[in-house]
Each structure stands twice: as C-alpha cells, then as structure tokens.
Symmetry: C2
Subunit: 379 residues, 2 copies
C-alpha cells in the first residue's frame, strides 16, 4: 500500500526526515519500489513491541513485497533474512547499517540471517587477488559478528568456499537468464568478463537457499541499499518459475559522507568513518565534518543551525538510538543553544563507544567465526 497523502505529509514534518540531494520518493518511483507505509510500520511495531530507530526515522523507506513478510509475521510462519557484502579492506559505518537492522529483526522475530560474502565478485570486478578478497571476507565477518549475533542467528556464506551450497541453485537461475537480460539489467558490455556476467546468479541464489535448507518454502526479506535492487528484481521475476517464494526487499537510504556528499565512499577515506579507524582519526574526521551550522558562533547563537542539512545530525539519526538525546540535539541546534563543536564532541563520544564495542567484540569473534559458518550448521 502506498502511504496516504496525510501519512506522506506527516513524514515530512518529523525531525527524523533525512533530507538531501537524493529525492528518495523519486528514486523509489524510478526503481518501481513501494514506499514503506505507516500501516506497514504499525504491523512491525505491533509484533516487535517497538520500531527500530532506522524504521521510525525513515532510513528504511521502501520495499518490494514486504506484505509477504508481514503476513508471515502475523501468521507466525517461517521466514528468513538475507543480506551480504562485497568484502573490502575499508568497511565503514555506512556498510553496517543494514546489518544492525537485520540484527534487530533477528532478535525481535526469531529469524535467521543468511549473509553472503561475495569475495568472488570483488575479485572479478576489482583489481584485487582472490586471496585478498577472501581475507577481507573473514575480516568483515568479524565486524558483522561483533554486532552481537548468536551463531544460531547468523549463517555466514563465503562464496568461494561455500559455492557447493549455491551452485545447483545458481545453475537453475542461470538457465533462465539470457546474456541479453543480464547485459541489459546491469549495463554490461561484451568487454565484461564471463565471471562477472555469471555472478548475479549467485547473489540471486542465496534468496532461494533458505527454502532448500529448511526444506520448506521460506520467504526471505533482504535489507539492502536500493542499488542492489536489480539483482532482487530478477530474483522476484524468476522465483515462481523455479518453485521458490518471491524474495522481499527493504531498502535503506544512504548514510551521507562526512564531507557532505550523498554517500560515503570507501575509496575516499575522509568521507567515511571506518570500523578500524583509531580514535584520533575518528575525532579528526568528525571535527572536519560538514554541518548545518552558521558561519560564526554569534550567528549560530542568534539564528540557530539547520540540522536537516547537517551531516553530523544525520549521524545522530543513523547511529544513536536514544530519541530524547537526538531530539534535544535537534532543538538545541535549532535554538542556537549548542555549537557545532560541542555537538560534534557528543557525536564523537557515541561513535567511539560504538567502535570500541565493535573492536572488542571483533577480538572475541576471531576464534569463533567457524561457529557462524553456514557449513558448520547445514551439511
């Protein structure tokens, strides 16, 4: 269901609204996905007992086929989560947003997350070795695990090692996908390598894997960035033909770059806070972040700042669960009773606390990754 006009308008006046140069409504229209409606959110809230802040603040804003999952929730039938990562050396805070959300869903709905590390894809499309891509997969998995997943909640798939679980499904997907379709969907030309052209079948396969492993039709919800939609649109197109439930998706807005661009860039260090940045670096990056503050302390006191156009505020929205603190920051900024430096210091403390927990948990996870491997649990 589309949100009503009133719902849409009410959206726009919450302090949670994330504005920026991306017009998400238009993006949703372009991709042909549905905006998440208030009534859909209410179903989640009713069964979870609360709404995750990424939902109530509109970070997750659009979907395909969420009705299927809501129906599973209401009827208490089995569903599963699926997301993944093209592993790299520079995992940043933007990457982990869908993972945090997935963790919450696991906890609230007792579902399991199938997580695909696409080290094969990284190798095929980037100038890195297979060994490095695989190493990054394990490194990135530590951060994923560090978010607090229990081994029963998280099934880690490393493509190059777990291909045996996916290949037969991928073949059935591949038989339905012509070169034409894949070239058109992903904008590939004949100069692309044949591995990159085959790869989408693997990303699609994981959406069908829970049905194979649980031996019952298992709808899957995929929290992801909307840039991944082409894969899952294909998956939805093929699902019924192959005897699987159509996977559902839920899409997240981008977390902005510290420097003000719409999206953090893994290749430009100053735009993003990496999970492994040291505290000095984190402080520097946050202190240099673009804000919605006034040019001078006096103007800020007099006119107040613009949290809607402030990267620092958006980081509060994205990483600080505490509504009362975030609202206070919003009001204080508006009223000019807080300066950007003070505000950045508060954000810094929250981010550093998050990173410390992640780093501590990463250390503890180092000997325990095998407990999370799909292959440990499904033979």
């Amino acid at each position: 269901m589309e949100p009503s006009k009133a719902e849409r308008e009410s959206f726009e006046v919450t302090p949670w609204e994330v504005r920026g140069r991306v017009d998400y409504r238009k993006l949703a229209e372009t991709f042909g996905v549905k905006l998440l409606s208030e009534s859909e959110l209410k179903v989640i809230e009713r069964h979870a007992g609360e709404l995750h802040y990424l939902l109530r603040r509109g970070f997750f804003y659009a979907h395909r086929g969420l009705e299927t999952i809501l129906s599973c929730i209401e009827q208490k039938t089995r569903w599963a989560l699926y997301t993944g990562r093209g592993p790299s050396a520079d995992l940043h805070l933007g990457h982990i947003v869908p993972w945090m959300f997935a963790k919450w869903l696991c906890d609230k709905f007792g579902v399991e997350l199938f997580f695909e590390m696409t080290d094969d894809e990284k190798f095929l499309i980037r100038d890195i070795s297979l060994e490095d891509a695989n190493r990054y997969a394990y490194d990135n998995a530590l951060t994923l695990i560090a978010l607090g997943f229990k081994p029963s909640q998280l099934h880690l798939i490393v493509d190059t090692e777990d291909i045996g679980y996916l290949y037969r499904i991928a073949l059935r997907v591949a038989k339905c996908l012509t070169l034409s379709t894949v070239k058109h969907t992903f904008g590939f030309t004949d100069s692309m390598n044949v591995g990159a052209v085959f790869f989408p079948t693997l990303q699609i396969s994981v959406a069908f894997l829970p049905t194979e492993l649980y031996r019952e039709k298992t709808p899957v919800l995929i929290p992801a960035g909307i840039d991944q939609d082409p894969y899952f649109r294909l998956a939805r197109d093929l699902a019924e033909k192959l005897g699987y439930p159509k996977p559902s998706t839920i899409y997240c807005k981008f977390i902005p770059a510290l420097t003000g661009e719409e999206k953090m860039s893994a290749s430009r260090p100053e735009t993003a806070i990496y999970v492994l940045d040291d505290e000095t670096t984190v402080r520097r990056k946050i202190m240099n972040a673009l804000t919605g503050g006034q040019p001078t302390r006096e103007l800020q006191r007099r006119l107040g700042g613009n949290p809607e156009n402030c990267v620092v505020y958006r980081y509060f929205l994205a990483y600080v669960d505490d509504d009362s603190l975030v609202c206070k920051i919003y009001r204080d900024c508006r009223q000019g009773s807080i300066l950007c430096g003070e505000c950045k210091q508060i954000l810094f403390e929250h981010i550093v606390k998050l990173l410390r927990v992640l780093r501590e948990n990463r250390e503890k996870a180092k000997d325990r990754v095998w407990e999370y491997r799909l292959s440990t649990k499904f033979k």
Copy 2:
C-alpha cells in the same frame, strides 16, 4: 614436428588408415593442430613398450603440445590425464574410445586420470533436469570404471557436486575471459543463457586442477575429440598467465555411424551401439550396418570388398586389438574370401564380449563409485 612426406605417404598405405568423408589433414589444418608424427609415436612406443592400437591405427592423429608430455615421459617427471563427458542416457561405443586410450596411458605411464562429468553443462544446454543430468553422470561413471580403472588411477569429478574444487580456478580463468572472447570462440549469441557462457571456465579449470592438487606444476594431456579443441585452445592461451603449464591435447578421429555417417549420433539409436544395448539389438544394428561389400555374394567372391569404405571394418579397427585378426579380415575382404554376413558375425562376437565385460564390471562398480570420487582422495 610435422610428419615427413614419406611418413605421410606410408601412413596412407597402411591398412589402418581410416578413410571417410572427413579430411582429417584438412581438419587438423583448420583447427591449427599438429598431426601426430612417427617420431612422436616412437617416443611413446619406446617408453610404453608398445603402441596402443588406437595410436598405431591412426585413430589418435593430431595434438597440441604433445612435446611437453613426451618430455615428461622421457624425464620421468609428473604429468596427468584429463578427459570428460557431458553425461547422457545414451552412452555409446564412440564415447568410450578416448577412455580406453586413457586407461592404457594410466597403465603404461603410471599417471592418473582426472575425469570431469559435466552434468552442469548438460543441464544448461539441453532440455533435461539437473537431477537427470546428475543421475546420468553416475550411470556413465559406471561404464568408465568398468574399463578397469583402479581407484588410484581415476579421479572422478561431478561438476555439480565437486564445484568446490573448481570454482576458485574457474574464477581466475573467468577474469581473463571476456564475453567477446567466449561468444566468438563458441559462436554464442546474446540469447544464450549466462550459465552456458560461464561453463567453459569449468572445463578449462580441470586442466589446471592437478597442479593445484599435487602442489607442483603438472602438465596435463587431454585425449578428446577435436570438437573440444576450442576449450583447450583457450586453456593453453591462459595457462601461463595463471601460472599453470599449458595443457596438451591429443585428438581422436570419429568412430563412424553404423549407418555410414561420419559420427555416431546419440539421438539416432540405429547409428550407434549403446553400452546398454541388449544382444539382440546389437546383432540387428551390426547386421544392418553399411559395408564396403559388393551388391551380391557372387560379385563379392569375384571382386572382393572395400574395407576402407566399410563401417564394419572400421569397428574392427576401433574395438579389436588383435592385429593379426584385423589384417586377416582386411585381406579376406579384399580377396572376396569372406562375405559381409560372416564378417559382421565376427564383429558381433567381439563387440558383445566387450559389452558383456563392461556390463559385468558396471554391476561390480555400483557400490564402489565413491572410491573413484576426487573428493574421496583429495580434501
């Protein structure tokens, strides 16, 4: 080395020469492969103590890079064999010719055969299910094993089950192969499915697998039909770039259809003797085979037959090791002292004996396939 003119002429006058509508010299030129020379055969003979009848009768007639293998033979360094099969329900006597040759090489040179059952490819390019393709792989493996391989000699790879051994190599191959190259090499268009386009990387990968498994550079010899050359030409092109020895190939002539066409056709039962044909069927097929005999008994007695243009004689060449018998058949036919019916009866007895051994051995192999699986021996 090209065969000398004298060598080529001497070839043409042996009773082993297999004539037909295929001009193999021209075929070799078209594919750019070398004809097997007398001096190359002599190296094999010197080290094996004899020449397999498929070599001395010119069935194996051309190669790429056989020098590499001859050098391994002379220097007693490690090499391996590789061949394979797109498994199907209708395995016929034409299919097993390279397997018989491979078995002889295993015995004579103490090398191991890596055998790829491409059930994935069959599924991708034919209208059969993955389950059937996989079932055919196991059925065809029984016949392969029935040729007398010991488990230490034969490493059976079933693509859909052993993909874990191949995928990392295939990815490295795939990264080097553009869509353009694969489309051009195999004549694919954009209406081909993406699985079929990726598949060549798997057929190529097995050529590099022994180097990975033995952890030393291991040249590979591939006995095959020349129709498989495009795969292995690509493999040779990529090998050095990927750090593997260039694979060598040795190509076999087609075994003719019983009905006189150049090649048995799995889809036209009367053209071929299937491994599982019952004796009545085998008798009927052989009795109906096209011969080089004269139209009447009287003319045959007076003029003699034409074994060079006789399918039955070519079956003697392809399946009966005993030179003195084959020479006798040749002479008797030429002289008109044997009639086609008598000759067919002798062939029938030999073929039925071969099929009986295969069927008996297949039964014994049924519980022992696992001993031959690559995965049983290499972890």
